[in-house]
Symmetry: C4
Subunit: 209 residues, 4 copies
Amino acid sequence: MPETYNRIAGHSVERLAALSDGVFAVAMTLLVLDLRVPAAAAVHSDVALWRALAALAPRFLVYLMSFATLGIFWIGQQTQLNHLARGSRELAWLHIGFLFAVTLVPFSTGLIASFIAERAALLAYWGNILLLGVLLLVSWRCAGHSGLIRPDAPAGLRRAVERRIVIAQALYAAGAALCVVSTWLSLGAILLVQLNYVVAPRIAGLDRI
Amino acid sequence: MPETYNRIAGHSVERLAALSDGVFAVAMTLLVLDLRVPAAAAVHSDVALWRALAALAPRFLVYLMSFATLGIFWIGQQTQLNHLARGSRELAWLHIGFLFAVTLVPFSTGLIASFIAERAALLAYWGNILLLGVLLLVSWRCAGHSGLIRPDAPAGLRRAVERRIVIAQALYAAGAALCVVSTWLSLGAILLVQLNYVVAPRIAGLDRI
Amino acid sequence: MPETYNRIAGHSVERLAALSDGVFAVAMTLLVLDLRVPAAAAVHSDVALWRALAALAPRFLVYLMSFATLGIFWIGQQTQLNHLARGSRELAWLHIGFLFAVTLVPFSTGLIASFIAERAALLAYWGNILLLGVLLLVSWRCAGHSGLIRPDAPAGLRRAVERRIVIAQALYAAGAALCVVSTWLSLGAILLVQLNYVVAPRIAGLDRI
Amino acid sequence: MPETYNRIAGHSVERLAALSDGVFAVAMTLLVLDLRVPAAAAVHSDVALWRALAALAPRFLVYLMSFATLGIFWIGQQTQLNHLARGSRELAWLHIGFLFAVTLVPFSTGLIASFIAERAALLAYWGNILLLGVLLLVSWRCAGHSGLIRPDAPAGLRRAVERRIVIAQALYAAGAALCVVSTWLSLGAILLVQLNYVVAPRIAGLDRI
């Protein structure tokens, strides 16, 4: 029986993790690079430079928010990969798709930073977050079905990871829906959801979601 | 007898893998970065922004296709490296040449995204894929001849990897040849070959090629 | 009792180190990329090119200084991570925040390279260094409180790391305060502090700070 | 006796290797990115695109040459790091300096690609190669003096590495000196030296140098 390529390809979780760390590192660094230094020709005093920097503040906040997004999904992905005993070709491709969504974050961030008042920008940004969540969920289910999860993984891990992704995506979707009222309100709601996942406050049982 | 440098240099497969993951990660992220946010001056309404995003769709598809190309060759290279017991100076240089071809992908992708109707762009894109395949094949043969493959590698692995590369390149070449009829047809054919390798459908024995 | 996601996420120190190395590598390389090759149209002789290169010297020095900054903080962070037995979600987020400050270094470097005479630029640059130091200190204290430090870590390590960060930041703050007199003097003082940490002279007990 | 920071910082060879692989990966990828896709406005036919691509050939060759330079020095550095039992703060800083020289390669390559006829560009390019070689030699001597080299390293390794660097730099310097006659001749000579180190022909004992 001939050895088919697909049965031996893409089985290394370590290299998938290394590629992922690389893509996240480049995307995170390039994100902030879009923050342009004010043009020297337009700034002739210390006061003018302070004003130019203050004018960058909204853009700065959007980038900080996208950096947090990348951080949330980096932790989400590594939590999955750390609990895998081995990989598979299917899993590798799902994560490569996930990494494609990661590389789109600088684009959708630039979009929302430039067109914060337009619903198209907000929905594109939310679509990017949705794509990240869906691919992470599908890859986790694939790992479960294919028996790739380490036997010593804590009981309840599978359900905890799935629940986390579904609840987070439901909150993001609710935030995005607010753009019917106002894109600013919608962006604020998404930011609050992200803050919850970064800080994970222990009040009101929010750390359980 | 003096210790010659060439007998001790470039023997670490781990570091070759780390460099490769880094180059792939940067190339993958930069690929999508070429997707420019529409100029704020030209977009004054939500409808205009939707239209500007829709106008980016063909370029978006080309980038998705190139991301898939990089994914295919990343999996191809890691499958080889994972089965090596050790490296050699010759092997290191063949893989560095392969990485050079990887770094050309953003260029040839930009070329085809800008000049989709010109045969020169399509042939340059195909030439890049050909170069990737040839270097991967040569480096695998070098590993075989130099006895670098792990003794516990599955029987038939050597032939399976070679067969995979040769068949894939034959299909890409056939797709590229279609540019005599139309560059769009040619691009569609190359895309179908890539889809086959990403999805690897189990119908009609296609997963055996 | 349900397994909560937060108790299992972000526990891998190895992957945090890999992400950090990636972000530092990209930030370091992009830093120097801002050094633009003189425009070919403006240079028509060998003498003109020497002059154009000489004109780049101040910018070159600022980049060298920022590269040293990144080197100092990379060594500082890896010294911490190398002594951790395991990670935690809180620690992962503190280091992601630290990496955000790392990605700001190319921006604040570009700022000071363009506006070396303005206090706003100098204070923004110092603010970046301060943010790096504060996050490194907080993450080290978090590691200490949460019992993440390896039991075999040398006695006195905890205090040595804290002392190092506090003294360095005090020196940077004193250097930044000199901008009341002159931004050039202030930049020179910060550069001297950095040189001390790079070269660590063994005279006058300076290697003990 | 207080634990001084400098005695415990920068001791991980693995992380130094990871940072180095990252910097090399980014520099290698960015190098080729400077190869700009011809402007769509200036190209209206297939023939025009072939001509525009042919016009890129000299620039392409310069980038290929710089990629080879980075490959040579990557193999040179990893050969050193692979034979170290542990690191030290001094060694870490020497390698960070070496990485700074690596990040300068895209700049000096851009310089020579734009000003191939000017001696200033050629000498700047050679100066970059010289800096890489000197830092690699100094860091290897530092490793030897500080007893960081693995006890199981092959006999003669220390001398072989030093000899290799010194002979290579002598050849590069001789090539650079030819710029008194012509910068093209000088560039050709440097290219031949590089080819020798990439291909390492076994004729005339050239693989022994």
